[in-house]
């Protein structure tokens, strides 16, 4: 899993003290990748503005930054928010009512999902659940990586991150559909074990119990 290197932690500690040199160093380290992230969606001038807003946003949110989280991931998530705002202002990203706040879309949810929403979940709890699952997946993936078993990693990545059906994954990786189904079953079974061991709610991970 992506964790902050010690050099990032030390840099953040210095930025928190108001150290100008540390702030310039952080900018030097990360601005290029942030600019690359936004500039293929925007013109050069707007991309520059979004990077500036990202950096200001980082300083503003610094008191809430959890130093155990990857600094790079945190900066990218701020950049994604600032980029989305800019695209909405430009009218490119449709301003849709996509939240369940108006109560419209939630009616379409299955009963089990409504039950979950009725239990007010704190941000901390959501983060804890996600972190536990991330660790469980990471443990399996790290082992496969050590074994150089990239086919297994690719298989799960296509199934879960891309959401492709078994037959497409099988074709992509020159496996049989049965092999893909078996690998998926094994992976999900291990995650179910992790959920049970850590006493997490099964209701919030519907894919594990389909």
């Amino acid at each position: 899993m992506s964790e902050p290197p010690d050099s990032d932690r030390l840099l953040i500690d210095r930025v928190r003290t108001g150290d100008n040199d540390a702030w310039q160093e952080l900018i030097d380290r990360y601005e290029g990748r942030l600019l690359a992230f936004v500039e293929n969606r925007l013109g050069k001038r707007d991309a520059d503005d979004v990077v500036q807003e990202t950096l200001v946003g980082f300083l503003t949110s610094l008191p809430n930054y959890d130093a155990s989280r990857s600094l790079e991931s945190y900066l990218f998530s701020i950049a994604a928010h600032k980029l989305t705002d800019q695209l909405r202002r430009d009218g490119r990203r449709p301003a849709l009512s996509l939240t369940a706040a108006d109560g419209e879309s939630e009616r379409d949810l299955p009963a089990a999902q409504r039950r979950v929403s009725s239990v007010a979940q704190s941000g901390e709890r959501l983060a804890m659940e996600a972190a536990a699952l991330a660790q469980a997946m990471s443990d399996i993936l790290d082992r496969w990586r050590e074994q150089k078993d990239f086919v297994k990693i690719k298989c799960q990545e296509l199934l879960l991150v891309q959401g492709l059906p078994n037959k497409d994954v099988a074709k992509e990786l020159s496996l049989t559909e049965q092999q893909v189904a078996n690998q998926k079953f094994e992976f999900l079974a291990r995650l179910r074990t992790a959920v049970k061991r850590q006493g997490l709610s099964e209701d919030v991970f519907p894919e594990l119990y389909e």
Binding site: M1, S2, V15, R16, T17, G18, N20, W23, I27, E31, G32, R33, L34, L35, A36, F37, N40, R41, D48, V51, Q52, L55, V56, L59, T60, P63, S73, F76, S77, A80, R92, R93, P94, L96, S97, T99, A100, E104, S105, E106, Q113, S117, R125, A130, A134, M137, S138, L141, F150, K154, E157, L160, V161, Q162, G163, L164, V204, F205, P206, E207
Partner: protein
């Protein structure tokens, strides 16, 4: 665009898909209400506190190569199986943040130091006013 999976649409909500796919979805959203409904349902599931494994994988960057590994990929010095995996992750899965890192590393190879320094100084000047001792 109807063939977009729920996992890909969720990545759209997080601004995490390749730029050309993001633009195509935005175009589709203006014309097709069915896609709007699918996105609204996904958002409602999130608001209800449900997790998806793909979103956790993506946000925690479980299979993203490190910056140094990407540099070695660019230099062509990674073992073949690792290099093939990196190419798969960036080109086929379309990891947006790894693509940004790779593009940045490529830019560093062609950009003059002077250009980079000027840009970084500009970023510093526009943000340092928010730097406070805490």
């Amino acid at each position: 665009m109807n063939s977009l999976t729920a996992a890909q649409l969720e990545a759209y909500l997080d601004e995490a898909l390749p730029a050309e796919v993001m633009a195509a979805i935005e175009q589709e959203l203006r014309a097709q209400s069915a896609l709007v409904v699918r996105l609204a349902q996904l958002n409602a599931q999130r608001d209800a506190g449900l997790h998806t494994l793909g979103a956790i994988w993506r946000r925690w960057r479980l299979t993203c190569p490190g910056r140094q590994e990407l540099g070695n990929y660019l230099l062509g010095v990674l073992p073949q199986d690792v290099a093939q995996y990196v190419a798969f992750h960036i080109d086929q899965v379309g990891c947006r943040t790894c693509r940004a890192n790779l593009d940045d590393l490529k830019r560093q190879q062609r950009e003059s130091t002077q250009e980079a320094v000027a840009r970084r100084r500009r970023y510093f000047q526009s943000s340092a006013g928010r730097l406070v001792k805490r």
